[in-house]
């Protein structure tokens, strides 16, 4: 076995198994064998849209300023899945949707998603893409100012922020709170979670947003990788619990094996 780097057999095995698990899970996802639990935040989305209809005020869905080519692309994709869900609900219940955009790459995709949702509900004439999905700016502070301005002007009843967010998260959460909007925040950029957690009525922490995106889109790719990750997390749970108990009893076999 001289070809293999010594002391890396366990990571290597974990790596190869991850490869296999990804394939298996995606196959199972295609066959509909995987069920993702409903994230409580999703019920809150329905509540927000319903509330906006009652109050006759608009709903905002902000997916952040991510693009498809950076490492936050998966967060942008999860945000778009949520946008599809939100726009369907808005079309169905008759709420006015605003989804300002910050990326010229993402804008056409987002527009297509929203248009499709309204078309499927037979309400194509109720959406004006140019007005309701405006391109604000690709630079952070100009984008933040644009959103803050819109929030003050339109006084939305609800605001859904799911996607990659940077320092602007605090400004957004605070501006929408000031006009009395009910809010949901979600991002896998954990630094921004405290601002969401403190001001939003519901917050999706880290991977919860991916699970929510997979849940509403039903895309076997997304669903499958959630399942594959779950298997690994279950393995980590089992090994961690067992290892800690054994180690407490003086048997350090699991810890020793894993650092090999």
């Amino acid at each position: 076995m001289a070809i293999l780097t010594p002391n890396r057999l366990v990571p290597l095995a974990a790596f190869i198994l991850a490869w296999v698990a990804t394939y298996m899970a995606i196959q199972m996802g295609k066959q509909g064998k995987i069920k993702i639990r409903r994230i409580p935040g999703l019920d809150a989305i329905e509540e927000i849209v319903g509330r906006s209809v009652e109050m006759g005020r608009p709903v905002f869905d902000i997916i952040g300023m991510g693009v498809f080519t950076d490492i936050y692309a998966t967060q942008t994709i999860a945000g778009l899945s949520i946008l599809s869900y939100v726009s369907t609900l808005c079309a169905r219940l008759g709420a006015e949707l605003y989804a300002p955009q910050a990326s010229v790459d993402v804008l056409p995709v987002a527009a297509e998603i929203v248009r499709e949702s309204y078309r499927l509900e037979g309400k194509e004439d109720e959406i004006n893409i140019e007005e309701q999905l405006p391109y604000l700016s690709g630079t952070q502070f100009a984008w933040a100012s644009g959103i803050i301005g819109m929030a003050a002007r339109l006084r939305p009843a609800g605001n859904i922020m799911i996607g990659p967010f940077w320092a602007e998260s605090m400004m957004f959460a605070e501006s929408f709170d000031r006009v009395g909007a009910m809010q949901i925040g979600g991002t896998a950029r954990l630094y921004q979670i405290p601002f969401f957690a403190a001001l939003c009525d519901y917050v999706l922490i880290g991977e919860e947003m991916f699970a929510a995106g997979a849940y509403v889109s039903g895309d076997p790719q997304q669903v499958g990788s959630i399942a594959a990750q779950d298997w690994y997390k279950l393995a980590a749970l089992a090994l961690g619990i067992l290892g800690a108990l054994l180690a407490t009893a003086g048997v350090t076999v699991i810890g020793d094996l894993l650092i090999k």
């Binding site: 293999l4 290597l12 709170d177 601002f195 991916f210 790719q221």
Partner: protein, 210 residues
């Protein structure tokens, strides 16, 4: 075979697999190949550094030539500044090591880079006042540790009573270590599985959508 799509996917796969083999095997040939790949990666990343500027020229150049938006002068200024840095950087042949480049860097870039984000401190103070309210159970949990950590981070409190600092250190002990290790395991495995999907061509967002 679609050379617009299949060849790029094959390149990703081959390069990625060599990187992985370099880590798990001791084969000389793999290490040597990967050394070349790494060096090329550095050069390609350097080429990619110009992409941002091309984007800016496309967007702002158009604004300047059309002059329809009221803020087109800002666009012109932006491009002027861009060109200024490039010219000063290249003209000496010394790039960032030249004194004239360091002069304009220290005059323009350093203050802006340092202030652009740090001016959020003001927003932060206002935000903490407006945001950090124990309005429900979850916000209260966040509130408790946030306030205790701020107290521990503020030298005047530990100077009065050292326990404030030990409290802060303790929070960074078991509380932070436990939850963040759990998060780290989840994030780590998420990245590995996303990476594998990318290598085998299931995740193709980076190829663009045209």
């Amino acid at each position: 075979m679609d050379y617009r799509r299949d060849i790029p996917l094959a390149i990703t796969f081959i390069v990625g697999v060599i990187a992985v083999l370099d880590y798990y095997t001791t084969l000389e040939s793999v290490t040597a190949t990967f050394t070349v790949i790494k060096n090329w990666g550095v050069v390609l990343q350097a080429f990619a550094l110009g992409l941002g500027a091309v984007n800016l020229f496309r967007v702002h150049g158009k604004r300047v030539s059309e002059r329809t938006r009221e803020d087109w002068m800002f666009s012109g200024w932006l491009l002027l500044m861009l060109v200024l840095f490039v010219v000063v950087g290249l003209i000496t042949g010394q790039y960032d090591a030249s004194t004239s480049y360091q002069w304009i860097y220290n005059a323009l870039y350093l203050p802006l880079g340092a202030t652009m984000y740090s001016s959020l401190a003001f927003y932060m103070a206002y935000g903490a006042y407006k945001v950090l309210r124990a309005r429900n159970f979850e916000a209260a949990l966040l509130f408790i540790t946030a306030v205790l950590v701020i107290i521990g981070n503020t030298p005047i409190f530990p100077a009065t009573y050292p326990g404030f600092f030990h409290m802060r250190e303790w929070i960074f002990g078991p509380i932070v270590s436990g939850a963040y290790r759990g998060i780290r395991i989840g994030v780590g495995i998420g990245a590995v599985i996303l990476g594998i999907r990318t290598l085998v061509g299931l995740e193709t967002g980076y190829l663009g959508r045209r």
